[in-house]
């Protein structure tokens, strides 16, 4: 299992503009596996990404939008991407402005689906 998780991170990290990717425990907000460039604060990204997903999922539930599958947050300094891999995991990626969002999303959703099986 850990080999599969590592290979998925490797594929995601090959997308141009990626600064790092990680598997995060959805409930705990703790990193499970990570592949990060130097200087990326893994623990903080994991904790805050899990918190963001909880809040977005709560909002989606409140407005009747159903289950959240992917979260994309664009900021001036970069982009945070999160794919949900129910029941326990999140695929989290941090990218700069050059990233091909479509390709990153495709790789992340593929990894999330494989982990959910």
């Amino acid at each position: 299992m850990s080999d599969e998780l590592g290979r998925a991170l490797d594929r995601i990290s090959r997308v141009r503009g990626m600064r790092g990717s990680m598997w995060v425990s959805a409930e705990d907000g703790l990193p499970v596996a990570q592949l990060l460039m130097e200087g990326v604060p893994g623990k903080a990204v994991a904790a805050l990404a899990a918190s963001l997903v909880r809040k977005v999922s709560g909002t989606a539930g409140a407005v009747g939008a159903g289950r959240v599958r992917f979260v994309q947050m664009e900021a001036s300094g970069g982009t945070l991407l999160v794919a949900l891999a129910p029941p326990d995991l999140l695929v989290v990626a941090l990218a700069d402005s050059r990233v091909n969002i479509g390709l990153a999303r495709l790789e992340m959703m593929r990894a999330a689906q494989a982990a959910s099986r």
Binding site: V24, D28, G29, K43, A47, L48
Partner: protein, 156 residues
């Protein structure tokens, strides 16, 4: 939820930690179980029990760490059904302090750990140097304890 402190310097770091981590209950205490600050406790008896048990767990885990050749455990985490408990110690100029945090489903251990690290740094910065203390006498102990509880619970 109320936050009360025996030692004023601990108030701002504690308020910030509680706000950021969304913790339900927090106790800052010495390894002997003397409470310096608390958040969320409504009754003195609950606070006394939590601080005594927290200090005992840290002492027991420290002894266990020594048995296996570790200096000490960094932090202890217990995941319950509805609540999680995070227990950790940090070295400050005031001496070693123990922080017990109880949190619910509205936050996570990842967030609590993240903001605990900032809290520990803030405590280290704010804490005054430890004063030379008189040995604790049985006669003074109860008076000290009552004084702390009166301060924390406004003589309720």
């Amino acid at each position: 939820m109320s936050t009360t402190v025996v030692e004023r310097w601990a108030e701002q770091p504690l308020l910030r930690y509680v706000t950021e981590s969304s913790a339900r209950l927090v106790v800052v205490m010495t390894p002997a179980g003397q409470v310096l600050a608390q958040h969320g406790f409504a009754r003195a008896v609950d606070l006394m029990a939590a601080s005594a048990l927290g200090a005992a767990i840290m002492a027991a885990s420290g002894a266990l760490a020594e048995q296996i050749g570790e200096r000490t455990f960094g932090a202890l985490f217990h995941a319950g059904g509805r609540h999680g408990i995070h227990l950790a110690s940090c070295a400050t100029p005031r001496g070693t302090l123990i922080v017990l945090t109880v949190f619910g489903k509205e936050t996570s251990i990842g967030l609590v750990e993240l903001f605990y690290e900032e809290f520990a740094v803030a405590l280290r910065r704010a804490a005054p140097a430890e004063q030379l203390r008189e040995p604790v006498l049985a006669a003074d102990f109860e008076a000290d304890l009552n004084r702390s509880l009166s301060t924390l619970f406004h003589q309720r």
